[in-house]
Amino acid sequence: MTSVEPVLESQLASTFDVERVRADFPILKLKIDGRPLVYLDSAASGQMPQQVIDRLVRYQTTQHANIHRAVHYLSEMATAEFEGSRCKLQRFINAREDREVIFTSGTTDAINLVMHGYGRKFIGAGDEIILTTLEHHSNIVPWQMLAEEKGARIRVVPINDAGELLLDEYEQLFNEHTKFVGVMHVSNALGSINPVKQMIAFAHARGVPVLIDGAQAAPHMKIDVQDLDCDFYAFSGHKMCGPTGIGILYGKADLLERMQPFKGGGDMILSVTFEKTIYNTIPQKFEAGTPPIAAAIGLGAAVDYLSAIGMEAIATHEHALLSYATEQIRRLPDVRIIGTAALKAAVLSFVVEGVHPHDIGTLLNQQGIAVRTGHHCAQPLMQRFKIPATSRASFAFYNSMAEVDTLIAGIRAAQKVFA
């Protein structure tokens, strides 16, 4: 999905003005110990442009009330803005209908919703769930909980040394017990872009639904859930210029309708007596209680912002950043890149010979450079590479080539300390 024609890349490279984009992000003007912040941890959480901050302030200062309830002006205003945001998200991922877009608290919440709403109803003893070695803990642990409860079994798609899923092995895992597939679109730890469209088609040919964890894909490339034909697609607002505490679960309407609710409470019901409760229709069936209204509207503003720049332009700039950073880091002695898939998003995981990732992280921080160090909530993946942790630089469209240079100089400086 990120493959861009070379001619287009050169055109965009000349039109994408990173300095203009950076001016939208007030946090990027920060200094850390007197040094300019170099924020290379967007895979953990992205930064927020002034346009989204302003939208949150405008909502909170002039539009806030509870939604779907009262008849007064503010409640109707808040409801319209909240539902308007749902429609923006629908268009952003090209969902067929807005009721297929459910507001959750984030990707983890969205996956747990599918586990409880779909898994607990349709997966039973002896059934098998296919996951991959690359998965984030958030797409492992809920399924393990389900497997333990139901007596189901988890099967795991292995990867090669580059961090690419082995599709032959994936296909061989299918049998008459296979009931569900969960796979991440883009690896948070390695950056690998997985061939999810192909994997979905293979699963569907065997009648198996597929959930895509899109937390690392939605901020970086155009997502088209109809083209992918995925059954569920989960992602988080805070990784794509939006606030924390908000995320999306896309689900095909017919599946969502057949699922049981995840959380019980207000807003998800049509009528309640102590004898019998009738659940609301989708999407409200899955949105119990007062949602994070401001965050949902903020996420709508975030996708407006991203769409105005253009996901293709974003993907192209980030690809250029990744290529340059990869080339530069390869020139450093004793530094090994973990994750060398042919198709990668702008994530650069690396280990430095003789220097623990935590020491790299602290020494880079002293130079104003924010990277993530650790297992990236992907311990099985770290075990696969027989390493305890990596340092990870993850890029967003607001990063510049100059920041890549600062990172490279920072790694050199850290190596000198340990020389």
Binding site: H356, L363, Q366, V417
Partner: protein
């Protein structure tokens, strides 16, 4: 103390050439410490001769702060009594958590080079893990974790089993 002062020469030196590094045969006490958040893992073995720690060794995989802390800890407690070691454990932990008046009475001496971790909350556990593990070993708890609910650091100091 500024974070820049954390990677001082003495710490880098103990990381490069850790003292008392290896496996101890015929240890009377040992424990494995694990920090699941970063994957650090180290094993401490010691031999008590009466109340004295007459031999001690450690090995494992960890960051420089953890390794240097372990190395300097073994140097500091070797030859000391169990009670003296427990006092140092408590003082080191208090220093890392910024609960110790460094200008007041304590026995940390050179171990004060680790005072800088106070300003780095994410690195405090790296520095404490060896001490945590020593405490577990002295109290015959064979494995410990920085994330354990039954944190042996909360056990009564000097208890035996």
């Amino acid at each position: 103390m500024h974070t820049k002062s954390l990677y001082q020469e003495v710490i880098l030196d103990h990381n490069r050439k850790p003292r008392n590094y290896g496996i101890l045969d015929h240890a009377s006490h040992h424990a494995v410490g694990h920090n699941p958040l970063c994957g650090d893992r180290l094993e401490i073995a010691l031999n008590l001769d009466g109340e004295h720690i007459d031999r001690i060794a450690f090995h494992g995989e960890s960051c420089a702060i953890c390794k240097a802390s372990a190395s300097m800890m073994t140097v500091a407690v070797k030859g000391k009594t169990r009670a003296d070691a427990e006092t140092l454990i408590q003082e080191f932990r208090d220093m890392a958590l910024d609960r110790l008046d460094l200008d007041g009475q304590h026995h940390l001496g050179r171990l004060m080079v680790f005072a800088g971790v106070r300003d780095l909350p994410t690195r405090v556990k790296c520095a404490i893990l060896p001490w945590h593990t020593l405490h577990a070993a002295l109290n015959s708890v064979t494995s410990t974790s920085t994330e354990a609910a039954d944190d042996p650091m909360n056990a009564p100091v000097g208890s035996t089993s």
